[in-house]
């Protein structure tokens, strides 16, 4: 053990080893870079769907929308999650990274895969959207890029199991993982299952694009693709909830009120969400009614129960911690005196609130068999998942960045005033955007649609004029979120490069 360089972080007391520190740093940097690209695409796409601006042409709109999905949903979130894998399987346990070479291999594959996808999409070889439903065909290089990225991500999550297994040998923990690591364990288990679905569908699709096999069944593609597509959002949920617990512990020193309850909730995610991902197929042909009912509603509700448990446990643990610090007057003094100016804390608070009320509730409703008829492929769905992965996961990760920069990068956050308002600005922007999308979707406004005035169509249809307000809400929200996103990127990169060094 003599050759491993450990340091003790003065702020958090974490014992950090050099190679895991570097892995976390570079995964976070890659995440920030891909969010910057994905966010730029988001702004351009939002400004195109805002009817009074209608910025891009049709080709670029669909191209940039494809890239937005890849960079903002896939790359940014998974790079950050792999950073969390390293953080929770080494730093939190006070042990080293046992397989740094594998960490770098995973990182390289993800970087190359992500780069390949970005280039081929920008060159116009893959205007197929994030879902790339067959028989819409992209350049084979696109599928190759996705497979490379997915293999990298799979290795990244496998590192979690290697590290926690060996860490126990070195006394990183005696019996049970800390809750933050436990949450990432749930995320990593779901990730392995999910990415296996990805391989099962993208490898045949690549062979089909290369004309080696003749036919990929469109209905089977949808079934297996969503075995990747939606459970992978449960990796995000698990990682986000782990971040909620960890941030609450770092910032206000809170302790889970009941480890049994919180851990059981994570187990519910693992058990039930993989079989609950078929709500994308509720208005598809082929699948039988009872198959759809069992695989959507039945299992989904048990996973929702898990989120309901976290929604109680985390605010409760924060309340207990703040009351212990002396904020005991009345029912709500603790809430008033909570560190609202700390962007890590406000980040998770906003994330919990918006994930639950915007993303979660709409997810339960839209995933119901009958409601899905009036929501499928409308903009309401887009509004739903901007409530989950953006207002939930992304804001939580943004908040956690404000902890990783001092702890891991050893730099102070620059522009503290801007950092304080950043989560609020971004949160208000995304919430406005999401509500605008959901409300317009209510009137049947389709998602992934260049022009809802249908110019050039054989028949013209005019939506209820009420949608104008909701479309504008989306646009204004999108611009606000973009400003919040730019601030986040500038503050993060600025702090990493120019922030005052801590410690040395």
């Amino acid at each position: 053990m003599a050759n491993f360089q450990f340091r003790t972080d003065p702020l958090s007391g974490l014992k950090i080893e050099k190679s895991s520190e570097n892995l976390i740093k570079w995964n976070v940097i890659a995440a920030l870079a891909t969010l910057a690209v994905g966010g730029l695409m988001a702004l351009l796409v939002a400004l195109t769907r805002w009817p009074s601006v209608h910025l891009l042409g049709a080709t670029n709109y669909y191209r940039f929308l494809t890239l937005h999905g890849i960079d903002a949903l896939l790359a940014w979130i998974i790079f950050f999650e792999v950073a969390l894998v390293h953080f929770t399987s080494t730093v939190l346990l006070g042990t080293r990274s046992y397989v740094p070479w594998l960490g770098w291999l995973a990182f390289a594959l993800m970087l190359i895969g992500g780069g390949v996808i970005n280039v081929i999409v920008l060159l116009g070889g893959a205007d197929v959207m994030f879902t790339s439903y067959v028989p819409l065909k992209a350049d084979p290089i696109y599928y190759l890029g996705v497979i490379l990225f997915a293999v990298g991500a799979l290795l990244g999550f496998i590192i979690f199991f290697i590290n926690v297994t060996l860490s126990k040998r070195d006394g990183g923990y005696k019996r049970s993982l800390p809750l933050g690591s436990f949450g990432m364990a749930a995320g990593s288990i779901i990730a392995v299952l999910t990415l296996a679905h990805g391989a099962a569908i993208f490898i045949p699709t690549l062979l089909w694009a290369l004309n080696i096999i003749g036919y990929v069944d469109p209905a089977a593609y949808r079934l297996v693709f969503w075995g990747l597509g939606h459970p992978s959002q449960q990796i995000n949920v698990s990682a986000m909830v782990a971040v909620w617990y960890m941030t609450a512990a770092f910032v206000v020193g809170s302790k889970p009120v009941n480890e049994k309850l919180s851990r059981t909730a994570f187990v519910l995610y693992i058990l039930f969400i993989n079989v609950a991902s078929e709500h994308h197929l509720l208005v598809d042909p082929v699948l039988s009614t009872w198959h759809k009912i069992v695989n959507t509603s039945y299992m989904m509700h048990l996973a929702v129960l898990a989120s309901m448990i976290h929604a109680f446990a985390i605010p409760a643990s924060i309340e207990v911690a703040l009351r212990r610090q002396g904020f005991t007057r009345g029912l709500f003094e603790w809430l008033k005196k909570a560190p609202w100016g700390n962007p890590a804390f406000s980040g998770i608070a906003i994330s919990i609130l918006l994930f639950g009320f915007l993303g979660g509730i709409t997810g339960v409703i839209f995933g119901t068999e009958q409601f899905n008829i009036i929501r499928h492929n409308t903009w309401a769905i887009t509004g739903h998942f901007h409530g989950t992965v953006v207002a939930g996961t992304t804001i939580a990760f943004m908040g956690f960045t404000y902890l990783l920069i001092p702890y891991i990068f050893k730099r102070e956050i620059i522009w503290k005033g801007f950092a304080t308002i950043q989560p609020y600005l971004y949160g208000v922007g995304v919430a406005t955007l999401s509500i605008g999308m959901m409300s317009a979707g209510q009137f049947g406004v389709p998602r992934r649609h260049y022009d809802i005035t249908f110019s050039g169509a054989p028949f013209s249809f005019t939506f209820d004029p009420a949608i104008d307000m909701f479309m504008s809400m989306m646009g204004v929200g999108g611009v606000l979120a973009a400003i919040g996103g730019v601030l986040y990127i500038l503050i993060s990169f600025g702090s990493i490069i120019f922030g005052k060094k801590i410690g040395d």
């Binding site: 209905a219 960890m246 009941n258 309901m308 448990i309 109680f312 899905n372």
Partner: protein, 174 residues
């Protein structure tokens, strides 16, 4: 703490608050859990599941057969068809049109066959906002009873290439 290993014994009973919260959440979940299948039996509006395999050529022949038999007019280059409610009716999706224009009768129950000639399309009836998928190779049968008269549009809401936003069809209920 979430960042430290828990104490040796962490499998502790829930407190009263926790039991109430979990109980309420569980009841809520159970209500949704039971209601969806119940509604499937008692409700009048459910996603259908009747599906057949079909080739694009065969489906096209069925569509053209219906058009030849029941064509009553033409609108913007599309045949307007007034089919007999007792016979199957067809809507064909392709890049980038919905073919033909159907004229249905209020209160009659139709079996609408939906398929795509090329790639995946989204069948969205507006302004009533009902949405179904049209996949190539599959014939999806929607049992449909129009309850209001008027003019309806079919918009494609699954991305299907550069002309996606021009894929608009029409349907009348008389």
């Amino acid at each position: 703490m979430a960042i430290y290993e828990p104490e040796r014994m962490w499998w502790n009973p829930l407190s009263k608050d926790e039991r109430i919260w979990v109980g309420v959440a569980l009841i809520w979940m159970l209500v949704s859990f039971i209601f969806m299948p119940i509604y499937h039996v008692v409700g009048s509006q459910n996603p259908p599941s009747e599906t057949y395999k079909v080739t694009a050529e065969d489906f096209d022949k069925l569509v053209e057969g219906m058009v030849a038999k029941y064509k009553v007019g033409e609108e913007n280059g599309f045949p307007v068809v007034h089919p007999n409610p007792s016979e199957p009716i067809y809507v064909r999706a392709s890049m980038w049109q919905w073919y033909p224009v159907l004229e249905l009768e209020k209160g009659k129950t139709y079996r609408l066959h939906l398929s795509s000639m090329d790639i995946q399309h989204g069948f969205s009836i507006l302004p009533i906002n009902m949405n179904f998928m049209a996949l190539p190779g599959y014939d999806y049968v929607l049992k449909l009873t129009p309850t209001t008269t008027g003019e309806f549009h079919i918009v494609c809401n699954e991305y299907c290439g550069i002309g996606h936003h021009t894929m608009v069809g029409k349907m009348y209920v008389k």
